[in-house]
Amino acid sequence: MTRASVYHAYFHSTVNADIDTDAAHDRPLIEIRDLYFTRGQQQIFNGLSLNIERRKITALMGPSGTGKTTLLKLIGGQLRPAKGTIYVDGQNVHRLRRHALYDLRKRMGMLFQSGALLTDINVFENVAYPLREHTRLPEELMRDVVLMKLEAVGLRGARGLMPSELSGGMARRVALARAIVLDPMMIMYDEPFTGLDPITKGTIVSLIKQLNQTLGVTSLVVSHDVEETMSIADYAYVIAEGCVVESGTPPALSKSSSAWVQQFMRGHADGPVPFHYAASDYVHDLLAGDSA
Amino acid sequence: MNTRTQEILVGLFVAAGFAALFTLAMRVSNLSQLDTGGGYQVNAFFQNIGGLKVGAPVTISGVTIGRVSRIWYNPKQYKAEVTMDIAPSQDYLPKDTSASIYTAGLLGEQYLALEPGGSLQNLKDGDVIHFTQSALLLEEIVGDLLARMTTK
């Protein structure tokens, strides 16, 4: 078998398989119905329901602490909901047995906030990790795939570096290369823009857009960076208090009638979410002292 | 630290561990003195075996030629019966050999000492030693001494 034909077989089988199933199922890739989840004393989700459409970039936004990362873990099957169901590609995630769950995860890519690279191996080995674990590709083919993915994120030259030698942005790009190495049907991005300088932020934004357009990969972006997210999202959900407050396309959201959503989208310091923490009268507090 | 060096060092470590185990077995324990079996068994009856234990050495002129393998009370003879395993090479013991229980050192373990007799026939597997001397018991010695002192 020539190398070209091996390539052809590899890509044909993974990419085209996705397209065939798309034609068969018009269902959204991810369906969340009536999700309830508690952590400790806090009720994180209160009957949350939403759909993630295939081959689109969907954004999940909301204030810090609403459990957006928790939602990604629930979708990936790492956490179990108290009530409700999550369907990924037609399968009920939490009813799957371990083996089937692992098979499903191979088709999901996840980009963690910190990158979550394995610190004891270099960049090349990190990206090659899923290939080594789940496929029996010959070494040269593996090398080619890894280099192609690194080239896609612009870090082919950094392949010999150790994760400790990478900047935050570079680490996230390597993690992205690793997330796409098995050509997944979807990628979940957990706060991909947080803590990055403008150039790196712009790089990640364009990479997410590019991957969605060229690979047709369904993208789920969890973020509270409104501007960046709105610039690439096809659809967005705003989540607060454990359920969906508002949803729609970016233009629709910016014209939303909800004052709360407007405050969130424009980043106003005061509005429905008050600036001041609940306190007694100001003048009274100053003049009367603490004994009052 | 490349993989090859690591693997060599791990190999050395495991080898050192086994070498230590080997040293302990060979030089520290009594392995060299354990018989590999194949010897013959001889029985002896004693009035009192004192502190003799299974595994105690069986000696002749101080040289260990076997081990005690079984001690039990024989209700038919009303005596304690001791079975000893003797090394196959030591097959020269005459039939009238005597067996005594002595103590090694002041606080030491008790052992069986054999003294050859003059018979022309030798002990074989399953034979019985008829001349035995029981262990010396402290109470008996003291009682004996007291008896002698009071009957002057």
Partner: protein, 261 residues
């Protein structure tokens, strides 16, 4: 009064919960050991960090413990004129007790705490989570090799400790204090029994290795994924291993040496 009972009850329930959690985790690890047959490289790497890197402290400690035994043993035995039995004292103390126990305690301090910290940090930096999302079972890839390596390394380290200690005792007794070299070894060889002493000592160190490594990997896997959580987990490893080893030592000693035949 009620409060004390309540907190005592809560503490006991907590203890049982952790024990149960740890046991289920142990089962997962033992099942995961099967996957290591195809990946011996992983075990070799862990054997290096757990075994080879602990060698220095084991050698030095073994030597000093042996030398102290030689010295103390000589001082006491010479009161009874029994200095030539020094070999027996040194060898029996090391092979039966000090070898397995002290080596296990040193192991907990050096290798056990390192294992806990390593696994805990991987948890805190989301590497374990990342592996799960890449459909790789972190118990099989990260925990199982470390567990097997600890279990293999422990008896080897204990044997090295005892062997070095015996020679340390010889150095002090024969070399410095004038005990007869021949008596040192011959008396030792007459008394130390292969089955009763050496085998039992090895069994002890196998048990200690199992328990010490189990505690180390469990605490790491169960740690709260913050820097404070990891440091607390590391401390717990050392303390819990020490308690477990000493408790088990008593039980094993009673079982093995309790009934003189």
């Amino acid at each position: 009064m009620i409060d004390t009972i309540r907190s005592l009850g809560r503490w006991s329930l907590n203890l049982f919960e952790r024990l149960g959690c740890g046991s289920i985790f142990l089962l997962r690890v033992l099942v995961g050991l099967g996957s290591l047959v195809t990946r011996p490289r992983l075990v070799v790497r862990e054997l290096y960090s757990v075994g080879v890197l602990s060698l220095l402290i084991i050698l030095v400690s073994g030597l000093f413990v042996g030398m102290v035994l030689g010295l103390q043993g000589f001082v006491t035995l010479s009161k009874f004129g029994a200095e030539n039995s020094l070999g027996v004292v040194v060898a029996l103390s090391l092979v039966r007790e000090l070898g397995p126990v002290v080596a296990a305690l040193l192991f907990a301090g050096r290798a056990g705490s390192a294992l806990t910290a390593e696994i805990g940090l991987m948890k805190a930096t989301e590497q374990l989570s990342g592996m799960e999302m890449m459909a790789v079972d972190p118990v099989k890839r990260v925990v199982a090799p470390r567990f097997l390596a600890g279990f293999i390394a422990m008896p080897l380290l204990a044997a090295i400790f005892s062997a070095v200690g015996v020679f340390g005792g010889m150095f002090v007794g024969v070399g410095l204090l004038g005990v007869d070299s021949g008596s040192y070894w011959s008396q030792m060889q007459a008394v130390v029994d292969l089955h009763a002493d050496i085998y039992n000592g090895i069994i002890k160190s196998l048990v200690f290795g199992f328990v010490a490594t189990w505690i180390a990997v469990y605490e790491g896997y169960d740690a709260t994924p913050t820097s404070e959580g990891v440091s607390r987990a590391t401390t717990r490893t050392v303390v819990n291993t020490a308690l477990a080893v000493l408790g088990l030592d008593f039980m094993l000693t009673a079982l093995m040496f309790g009934n003189p035949s």
